[in-house]
């Protein structure tokens, strides 16, 4: 009986908790980027998914280059070494886009809906650019040790029937996400630049009249967004794989996370990321195994006990989004200003 319970917990951790924590961290980092753009520049950046794809692509290219030169940081994936370079290139891309595209509309004080359409255009361009450079196919770039703990070792160690596997990419995701979030909050709350970003986001008119240079705030915002997008994309790619179309699809859960948490609220973006990730994983998980351990034999489920097939997982973000907005239109954390 006790053993059954332990097995159930291990199975739950292995198939639900650990994957959802990793996925949630990736969504949270993605949603932070969306929420920063919304908080400071006041528009919904539909190009964010493809910015993540572009960032990841540059990281992959640098990774391949390092690999070809025999540079590695085994047992960690080479991609971590390539990350700063990917961020730098992505930052240049975003600053360039801002210079060429967004600044024009900022000068005109364009409506948010116009920005939104413009960001759709940027999205298509980035989308094409990424496919042109690296191709539309699947790319695997994870090297180094694949597992921190293998299911087989866990079974041998504990004698349980169920195994617990922890992938390196999952732990790297969690650790990186924690470091990034701490650094971001420190930056926003403790540094002068971060405070001027918050001030600008809170009350643009007042910020301008206190001598805060809006162009500078915008530049810093894009720099941070580049870092967040590249890190989120790379972590996701390490954990799953890199395919441009998947990143475009990620836009939905990421926006759902940002909106559920409250657009413009960094804390909300993080909470939203985990809400969406856990719902998605739990609703598409086949609970048969866990229930079999927990229920008396006579009540063992016959079907898979899967609420929704994995193919429909994107619908889940959408449903949660609608439910939250119905009951709390401002999102969990009352967004708007950083």
């Amino acid at each position: 009986m006790m053993i059954d319970f332990l097995n159930a917990i291990v199975a739950l951790s292995n198939f639900v908790l650990i994957p959802a924590i990793a996925y949630g961290s990736q969504l949270a980092l993605g949603a932070l980027g969306v929420t920063l753009v919304y908080g400071v520049l006041r528009f919904s950046n539909f190009a964010h998914g493809d910015t993540m794809a572009f960032g990841t692509m540059t990281v992959i290219l640098f990774t391949w280059w390092f690999q070809s030169m025999g540079i590695s940081i085994h047992p960690l994936p080479t991609a971590l070494l390539a990350l700063p370079f990917g961020i730098a290139v992505t930052a240049l891309l975003l600053l360039g886009t801002d210079r060429v595209v967004y600044r024009f509309y900022r000068k005109q004080k364009a409506q948010p809906v116009i920005y939104l359409i413009v960001s759709l255009g940027v999205m298509f361009i980035l989308n094409g650019l990424v496919r042109f450079i690296i191709g539309p196919g699947d790319q695997r770039f994870a090297d180094g040790e694949r597992f921190i703990m293998k299911a087989r070792d866990f079974k041998a160690m504990t004698g349980l029937k169920e195994g617990l596997a922890i992938k390196t990419s999952q732990s790297i995701t969690l650790v990186t996400a924690i470091i990034v979030v701490i650094a971001l909050f420190w930056f926003l709350n403790r540094t002068r630049t971060g405070k001027s970003m918050r001030a600008f986001s809170d009350n643009e008119d007042l910020a301008l009249l206190s001598g805060i240079n809006p162009e500078r705030v915008v530049i810093y915002t894009w720099l941070i967004v580049a870092a967040l997008a590249t890190i989120a994309g790379t972590l996701y790619g390490l954990d799953k794989s890199f395919k441009p179309f998947t990143y475009f699809q990620l836009l939905l859960p990421i926006f759902a996370a940002a909106i559920v948490g409250g657009l413009g609220s960094p804390l909300g973006a993080i909470a939203g990321g985990f809400v969406i990730a856990f719902s998605e994983v739990m609703i598409t998980y086949a609970w048969k195994k866990v229930l079999t351990y927990l229920m008396p034999d006579s009540l063992d489920p016959s079907g898979l006990v899967q609420l929704i097939a994995t193919e429909y997982k994107f619908a889940i973000s959408f449903v949660i989004l609608v439910i939250v907005l119905l009951f709390r239109p401002t999102g969990l954390f009352r967004g708007k200003a950083l």
Partner: protein, 260 residues
């Protein structure tokens, strides 16, 4: 000295400021009065760079500052407050004041990481200054309160406090007294006079309370329908035929509107 020459501002076809010409002498506390909708706030907004003018020219000590963006005007010492108080709601009153002086060392990424000591020194000085300003305004007890949660009148004081964080040349105050009780209004009045005397600030004050205007301002400028009607001492203004008519005129118009 600020000179405004033949300034125009149109919203669509509507002329909110319609050829205003006026001069603000350095060291003065100039009152700006006029019925609602006269274009006073719009005039401020155009001078302060919030709106670009449809025509005309603004000069500061002979330098053309027409249409400069607000943050550049700020660096030239041209500051303003808002008719409806603005604040950073999620920051404390002290932090609100500490946001003001721009171009602090902490604003470059380099210093954020490598100039910690310089930033710390600067912040300490800034904090002391903010506390000094809060005390001057008799709201030192609000230092750690969230600015979004203090009263409307206290927010107005905070607006004034913001202008004290730097060495301003000229400060435009838009309806400092609106929604402020008598005692607080007197505190604001005292602060304005002291700043004018001790630090040489020039003020332009929009206010509907004539006692307040009378106590502080000389000269007083009266606007109506986007134009400057008259300039002089308050008693001269009060005796001016055109001014009386302008105030009466809107009175009549409002009555007609109510009846319609």
């Amino acid at each position: 000295m600020i000179r405004v020459e033949n300034l125009h501002k149109q919203f669509g076809g509507f002329r909110a400021v319609d050829g205003a010409t006026l001069e603000i002498a350095s060291g003065s506390i100039t009152g700006l009065i006029g019925p609602n909708g006269a274009g006073k706030t719009t005039l401020f907004n155009v001078i302060a760079g919030v709106h670009s003018p449809s025509g005309g020219k603004v000069t500061l000590d002979g330098e053309d500052i027409t249409g400069l963006p607000p943050h550049e005007l700020f660096h030239k010492g041209v500051l303003r407050t808002f008719q409806i108080a603005h604040e950073y709601g999620s920051m404390s009153c002290r932090e609100n004041l500490m946001m003001v002086p721009a171009d602090q060392s902490g604003e470059t990424l380099w210093n954020t990481w490598f100039g910690r000591k310089r930033i710390a020194d600067e912040e300490r000085a800034l904090r002391a200054k903010a506390d000094e300003v809060l005390e001057f305004l008799t709201i030192e007890h609000l230092a750690d309160h969230k600015a979004g949660q203090v009263s409307g009148g206290q927010k107005k004081l905070l607006e004034l406090g913001r202008t004290m964080m730097v060495d301003a040349k000229i400060v435009f105050l838009d309806e400092v007294g609106a929604g402020v009780n008598r005692t607080l209004l007197n505190t604001i009045g005292d602060a304005i006079i002291r700043l004018n005397k001790e630090r040489g600030y020039t003020f332009v004050v929009i206010e509907h309370d004539m006692d307040f205007i009378g106590r502080l301002c000389d000269p007083v400028i009266c606007m109506a329908e986007g134009k400057v009607l008259a300039e002089g001492t308050l008693s001269e203004i009060k005796a001016n035929e055109q001014v009386i008519e302008a105030y009466l005129g809107t009175g009549l118009k409002n009555k007609q509107k109510e009846e319609a």
